[in-house]
């Protein structure tokens, strides 16, 4: 079980990790995008971090929704509406709970993925964050359903997300700014898939 305070702590850690990886994410985006992913994510999560104190005492659904709204308002690039929608949908899926278990996490992650698909009109295999998130979700679900051990499940999820990030190197981008580059996008990993993987790693580490 993870309670509201733990969720706040994980979000803070995600923010810290994003600030640390800011230049790396921007570098990746410089090659195949518009070079703002790290800067934008760092700006958005910095604002989230400032608001964390206001979120304390709230239920998990409200916290995730507030994180999403903050990202929408402050990121400034495509990851704003995409991660913003993901967190808002995850929050709506968890609802007014003060504790969540592995099943709640899976529901939230499923809603987040559906939100990203809807907002980005995107599918798996287009060199986007979905190429990390969908295999991760499937791995977490499979392991959790088999042995009810969330720690083991999230580890499998991170492994699948890392493979997903590697996979994005092999394919042509057909969504987002990188799609204008066509074949030139091959050989480079997707910045969105990379930041998604990073978030899952933080969750794994914190449990």
């Amino acid at each position: 079980m993870t309670d509201s305070n733990k969720v706040l702590e994980i979000i803070k850690q995600i923010s810290e990790q994003i600030q640390m990886e800011k230049d790396f994410l921007t570098e990746l985006d410089n090659v195949i995008g518009d070079g703002d992913h790290g800067i934008n994510m760092a700006r958005g999560f910095k604002e989230v971090e400032k608001k964390l104190a206001d979120f304390s005492g709230k239920d998990i659904g409200s916290i995730l929704k507030a994180v999403g709204m903050t990202l929408v308002s402050t990121v400034g690039g495509a990851s704003g509406p995409l991660y913003g929608t993901a967190f808002m949908k995850a929050g709506a899926a968890v609802g007014a709970k003060n504790e969540m278990d592995g099943g709640d996490f899976l529901n939230a992650m499923d809603a987040a993925i559906e939100g990203i698909k809807m907002r980005g009109k995107a599918h798996e295999g287009e060199k986007t964050m979905l190429d990390a998130l969908i295999p991760a979700y499937n791995a977490i679900k499979k392991t959790y359903e088999e042995n009810n051990d969330f720690k083991a499940a999230i580890s499998q999820g991170v492994e699948a997300a890392e493979k997903g990030v590697e996979y994005t190197k092999t394919i042509i981008a057909t969504k987002g700014r990188a799609s204008y580059l066509g074949e030139r996008s091959i050989g480079h990993q997707d910045p969105g898939a990379t930041s998604s993987c990073l978030m899952l790693k933080v969750i794994q580490r914190s449990l």
Partner: protein, 126 residues
């Protein structure tokens, strides 16, 4: 008159498009919502929201945008105002804005303007 909001990653581009549209139809309520608050490249939920507010009337508002996050952020602004008459238009930004401004200043309704702006996509330059 239908309000028109120009959304772009670039503050200058949005302002330029609004300026160009205003040249043909100075009475049309056209407003730019480009870039982030600090003037850097990006799209701002707040800026778009304020721009919609500033030209909103019962005649409604049309949003014209460039690409990527401009489309997605505009979409989220729309979702945050479910009771309002607002639509996004899928058209070339410059040509569509000029056509839309002319339509608005000649008191066309939202549907008529959308149709005309979308048609601008198939007009050949050469």
């Amino acid at each position: 008159m239908v309000g028109i909001v120009i959304v772009s990653h670039s503050e200058k581009l949005a302002q330029g498009v609004a300026e160009l549209a205003g040249m043909m139809a100075s009475e049309a309520p056209v407003v730019a919502a480009g870039g982030l608050d600090d003037g850097t490249l990006g799209t701002s939920f707040e800026k778009i929201t304020k721009a919609v507010d500033s030209v909103y009337s019962d005649d409604g508002v049309l949003i014209l945008m460039d690409m990527g996050s401009a489309v997605m952020t505009a979409e989220m602004v729309l979702e945050s105002m479910p009771d309002r008459k607002i639509k996004m238009v899928d058209c070339p930004l410059v040509e569509g804005a000029v056509v839309a401004a002319i339509g608005s200043s000649s008191n066309q309704n939202m549907e008529e303007i959308i149709e005309a702006a979308q048609e601008s996509a198939s007009e050949k330059k050469l």
